[in-house]
């Protein structure tokens, strides 16, 4: 079990969060090309080491967090709110 620092709620157990996928993916516009959508939906790196990912504090505040985590050591390098507006207000 890992522990994640939620800017709203503080350090919480992994069991309060749900993993929400690769945060390095930038989803294309709704009218982008099929190739761009194909790449965003299907192509994923599986890095050994630093990985940027979303975690949602599902059983807490519900916020999506952008977490930089090492997939080997589970060391968490940084956590910030995914929503820029919320981030601005909370400063996390």
């Amino acid at each position: 079990m890992i522990r994640i620092y939620c800017p709203f709620c503080g350090y919480r157990d992994q069991t309060e969060f749900t993993y929400e996928g690769d945060a390095s993916i930038i989803y294309p516009a709704l009218d982008a090309s099929e190739q761009e959508w194909y790449e965003a939906v299907y192509l994923r790196d599986n890095p050994r080491g630093v990985h940027v990912e979303y975690w949602r504090h599902t059983y807490g505040c519900g916020a999506f967090l952008r977490v930089v985590r090492d997939t080997i050591t589970h060391e968490i390098h940084s956590v910030e709110l995914a929503h820029p507006g919320m981030k601005k207000v909370v400063g996390g």
């Binding site: 079990m1 890992i2 522990r3 350090y11 157990d13 749900t18 929400e20 945060a23 989803y27 516009a29 709704l30 009218d31 982008a32 090309s33 099929e34 959508w37 194909y38 965003a40 939906v41 979303y54 949602r56 599902t58 519900g62 916020a63 999506f64 050591t73 589970h74 060391e75 968490i76 995914a82 929503h83 820029p84 507006g85 919320m86």
Partner: protein, 999 residues
Amino acid sequence: MTGFRLPTGGRIDRTQNVNFTWDGTRHVGCAGDTVASALMAHGERIIGRSFKYHRPRGIMSAGVEESGAIVSLWSGARRVTNVKATTTEIAEGLEVFGQNAFPSVRWDLGEVNNLAGRFFGAGFYYKTFFGLTGKGTWEWMQFEKLIRRAAGMGRASHLPDPDHYECVHDHCDVLVVGSGPAGLAAAEAAAAKGLDVVVAEQDFELGGSILTGLTAGVDGDPAEDWLSGKLTGLAGKVRLWPRTTAFGLYDHGVVGLLERVTDHLPKGAKGHLPRERMRIVRAQRIILATGAVERPFAFGNNDKPGVMLASSSAAYAHRYAVAPGARIVVSTNNDSAYGAATRLAKAGIETVVLDMRADLPEAAAAAARSAGVEIRTDRVAVEAQGLRGVKSLDIGQWAGDRALRKGSLNCDVVAVSGGWTPVMHLISHKGIRPTWREDLSAFVVADTGLEPVTLVGAAAGQFSTDACVEAGHKAGEDAANAMNGKRPGPLTETTTDWQQPLAPLWEVKERHRKLKSFIDPQHDVTTHDVRLAHQEGFVSVEHLKRYTTLGMATDQGKMGNIIGLALMAEAQGATIPETGTTVFRPPYTPISIGAVASDERGTHWRPTRHTPMRAEHEAIGGKFTDAGFWRRPWYYPEGGEGLAEAAMREVKAVRSGVGMVDVSSLGKIMVQGPDATEFLNRVYSNPFAKLAIGKARYGLMLRDDGVVFDDGTTWRLTETDYFMTTTTANAGPVMLHLANLLQTRWPEMRVHITSVSDHWGGVAVAGPKARAVLDAITDIDFSDSAFPFMGVREGHMTTCTGEVPVMVGRLSFSGEQAWEVMAPADYCPTMYRALLAKIRDAGGVPYGLEAMDCMRVEKGHVTGRELDGRTTPADVGLGGMASKNKDYIGKVLLGREELARADRPTLVGLVPVVEGARFKAGAILFPMGESTGPGLGHVSSIADSPEMGAWIGLGFVTGGLAEWEGKEIMARNPIDDQNTKVRVVSPHMYDPKGERMHG
């Protein structure tokens, strides 16, 4: 002669007798005894039988490393098997049984296996069953049963565990694991800095090595005075947790601990307490003061009752006041055994030390001699003799790589010391590899890197008590500094009190004789097995372990693993660090599954969701079914009806009059804000830009890949407020999907979403008389012109206890004229009772999930059975809902060639050709005459339709209606060998033009 109670000394309470039974015979011990010490005091030698050979096994240690005295406790439903007698406290009324033996451990018929021992070598199981008769044959099955019976451990109870367990979540600044000199010093230092400290000790008494008598003094004080002084000082300042094993070290300072709460209490004193308590502690810093385990070396017959670890033999004398025997031979390769020998001699036991080294540690030897110990240098144990336990020991001169036999000594106990292995299991759980220390002949973890974990004391290879205290103190202060952001000081040098270096020794061999020398006594793994595995080509330590089962018994190789590793290295001609070390995984010692589950048992392991009208359904005899987490009303039987009859009657009543079904489990989400309209327009595949206020629309939601995700209706309440409903199963996933879009993909959108699933409940009122019923009971105008199809109205329902605020949408899932009536959850029971009375007055009925499903199949409406994560809008006949004129999620990838192919399986209706024939959901659809291959598609839903007078179904057929309408195909169910001829029809089998619901 065997073990006996010493007249004085020990930490036991001689005034407090504790009665227990051993294989049915009554025994008496003292408070403070373990099962092992109490049995030893009674002269019991054979406590267990080994796994394969059924060789007699005695007490080999005084702790968790035990692999001889393995017993079963209690009887009936409370029976616990494979328990170490050496760590189990005796309790009043405790029942202890020998295991893996018939009729008893003392006289075991299974001992014949020992004579056939040469056939049961490493990999016996793997080798024997190749080609013999063939795996899976009848002969093999019979043989396997016999083998499984003969080779084994205790027999577990088949009854449910009557005890309860609990889980406690906890936090602390510093968790100290182990309460020996290093651990207590660390706790004291950290607590002095104002930190919240927990000390966890697996033993029932705190003190670690001090309890065994090996530590003469600490900081100039007698060891036991130092201990009691420290415990008094710490009481009330730190949390001291005896009987609590830290079994696993996880990420970010999370530690799993198991507390044994009531097993040591007499029957009747347990009250309401849980048997065990799982403690999940989040610690800022962790100090592992887990000590070290003495290891033996292998010599002939070293598994015989009477062979034990040197430090353990002293521990029995010192802590439990039990002499393991009358004459003890201690065979050692290092200085630590002198302390043990001295302690034994002081207890009046005749003690001889064999030191394989030529140079003695002078001071330790002098102390031993003055206590009466006889010392022989350059001598080593070669082979133990005695049928049912040690009677004598053949000794030899150590000639560098093998022993030369030099006579024999009479004795009843052989106490062995081959050095010490630091306990680093917990840090190994974090994947940190140890380094080899030549001077200790042991693996040690010196640096834990980034982990907030420190090892101190013997666990770090520190074998001087005073140095342990010093290192512990520093670790406690470092923990406080680290929490304040200061860097810890340099690591302390590790030292030993030993005057002469340890002489590495793993196995005593002879030139011309092959000795039967065990390295894992519990699993009967011998030194020969390791060499055999090497000969047969096993190179990796992990493979060696699995092939020989070395270290896979309940002690997990705490004593023997390192010997196996050393012998493997020797066979390979490599060094031990080159050969490698096995990785330890949690748990450190076995934990009960009951404690892992704790209170999350039965219905407590997941939520059970009831609709707000549960009591109303129960009051009228409704039967419930499980739908995900939900308990939903299934049918309402009348006069002994079964499911089929009740559902049939309910469908007819709705189609001809009126009925009401609970739809509270639908997901409900408020979508609000200036951009709500645009948001919905992007999320749904059909247009939402022009939905009028006071109207609802059926919407289809796709995934990014173009596959249908969910469907539901969304009601526009105001310019900026929408009430969205989702399917029951997707209430959570849809909410998550929308939140994800708003927080990560389109953060600029001014939209707020709120789950109101639990805040609103509702019913659907359906049937030709629904309008009349609703019109009479609310202040809303239900006339067709005032309340058109897909209209939404808010108003009030009149009930005998006042008005209920309601929100009503004219929607139909059943195909009849129907309205979904939503009310705040707390009002729902009142609403339900008021509506039920009106509906019954009109000759209507409440209906359940079964009738609802039947009506939607008749109507060709899709559910999760059709929206199964593989279907596109066109596949389910909703191709028109995929807009061409706007952009939405899933649009681009929905356009892919494969998803647009003309011959995809698409939704059709299915009716049997032969009257009365039945078929099942999941059946595979084939063209006539075909019965292999993927077929045309499958049956997704079925219903016993009163309207059609037949079993009907929905399914998917390659080519769909265009190719197959009116044609006959076969629904084949190979599981039941049921083949039904069905005709393909339009999925809209009931009222295809929708005249009934629009009327």
